[in-house]
Amino acid sequence: MAPSTIVLALAAAAAAGMVGAFAVMRRMVLAADPLSHIALPGIGLALIFSIDPLIGAIAALLVGTMLVWTLENRTRMPTEAIIGVVFSLALAVGSLMTSGEELIHALFGAASQPKPWELVFGIVASIAVMLFVLRERNRLVISLVSVDLAHTSGINVRRLNLMFLLAFAVTVALGLKFLGVLLMGSLIIIPAATARHVARSLNATLAVSVVLAMLSTAIGSLGAVAFHVASGPVIICVAAIFFFVGLLRPRAA
């Protein structure tokens, strides 16, 4: 496996751990998987028009994010319900548009060597996502405890929600190459869910979530090479093992 592939995967994993910590606290667990599925019709369209599939995926994710945000503001339905409906539909439509091996790669990822622009985009975007979460973490904390308190503390909650959804979508895009549409949501959620269970404070949650996401990716990638299997599923299996080991530990609080 090329070093640039590993570097890119680890950067994406770090961003996934960071965004995941807040996604789990904001009750977006069920939403995370379907949100990543909207990339699929984008990949399908890109293949039809012979564009780079990643560009199609990013475009679809951004459109999907704006759609969710708009519906959320208009209907006052919980984000999970909206995302569940919109993105399951996306998965269905996307599957019809993509076929054969391309569909398998899009769904589960393929450890191909990234092009130079993908490497640069991946690293810059990972750093941007992490800086966003770190910089906005106090606003995110207040708004997840109470939207009204966030409002009276001078926080623009609508804008913050949009920014968070965008950070989430970018993180999904970061992992598409090596984890695929189906598994990237899991790398965002599983380490964060483990962190939520074992940590007692905000900083500990963020740290545990990031470290576990990166460890799972590193161990999973090496294991996949050793056993000559696809890396994506192994990474998620490792993350899940950490989760079950974490459950053995009695709840800290």
């Binding site: 904390v141 009204d148 308190l149």
Partner: protein, 235 residues
């Protein structure tokens, strides 16, 4: 006494339903206004309109130098949220650009020990959590405190403690206080003005002795209510 808040013809609709109709009143700086009324009469809606958290018709005019601290009705938070009380308070200090030692100041004001505040918020008792929410509201040195049912989920002796504390903090910080409450005896004791909301007719406002009369309360709640007036403290 300077007027800190003027409310004129305030109405709030949720879709077709009118949940608050034509409320007008003024509030003097440093005063205490209690908002009473049966369930569903729009008390919480009024508070949310006053802080600008929901859209409304009419006008709400705060004095220009006003800084609002808001304590919401009991929050529904998940017990296993990995956030400590200190995380929560420091978050507000950071967002409002308040000095870091503001957290220690507000903890001292509400008499919450730092060891308690360092615990995950889901593990705090009802009374401790209310103190934490009050501490949160006090960060940034507000001059107006809006308090929605301070004693929900707190036992009887705890309620009196909480009112003592709110009163003490209000005096120490020279704040104007607006509170929603069902504790008529405590309102009688602490409030200078009572705003009475009802879904039957016009809201009324006046001094506790004028508003908290047995006839009026029976009209309002549909049943005779008894409450104990703390004569020793005066009203």
């Amino acid at each position: 006494m300077a007027t800190i808040l003027t409310v004129k013809n305030l109405s709030v609709r949720f879709g077709e339903k009118l949940v608050l109709s034509d409320v007008s009143f003024t509030l003097d700086a440093g005063g205490t206004l209690a908002v009473i009324g049966p369930n569903g009469s729009g008390k919480t809606v009024l508070i949310k309109a006053l802080v600008g958290a929901i859209p409304y018709d009419g006008t709400v005019t705060w004095a220009p130098d006003v800084k609002i601290g808001y304590v919401p009705q009991k929050l529904d938070i998940e017990r296993d949220l990995p956030l400590t009380g200190l995380n929560f308070l420091r978050a507000k200090a950071d967002v409002t650009g308040s000095p870091v030692d503001d957290v220690d100041r507000v903890l001292a004001l509400v008499r919450l020990r730092t060891e308690i505040a360092a615990q995950p918020i889901g593990t705090l008792s009802g009374g401790q959590f209310q103190r934490l929410l009050l501490a949160f509201a006090l960060i940034g040195k507000p001059n107006v405190l809006l308090f929605d049912e301070p004693t929900a989920g707190v036992d009887q002796p705890g309620q009196e403690d909480l009112y003592e504390m709110i009163h003490r903090v209000q005096s120490a910080e020279h704040m104007t206080l607006v509170l929603v409450s069902h504790e008529l005896s405590l309102i009688y004791h602490y409030a200078e003005q009572v705003l009475c909301l009802s879904y039957l007719g016009q809201p009324s406002i006046g001094r506790p002795v004028e508003i908290l009369t047995p006839q009026r309360l029976e009209e309002l709640y549909g049943t005779p209510l008894k409450f104990h007036v703390h004569e020793d403290h005066g009203a």
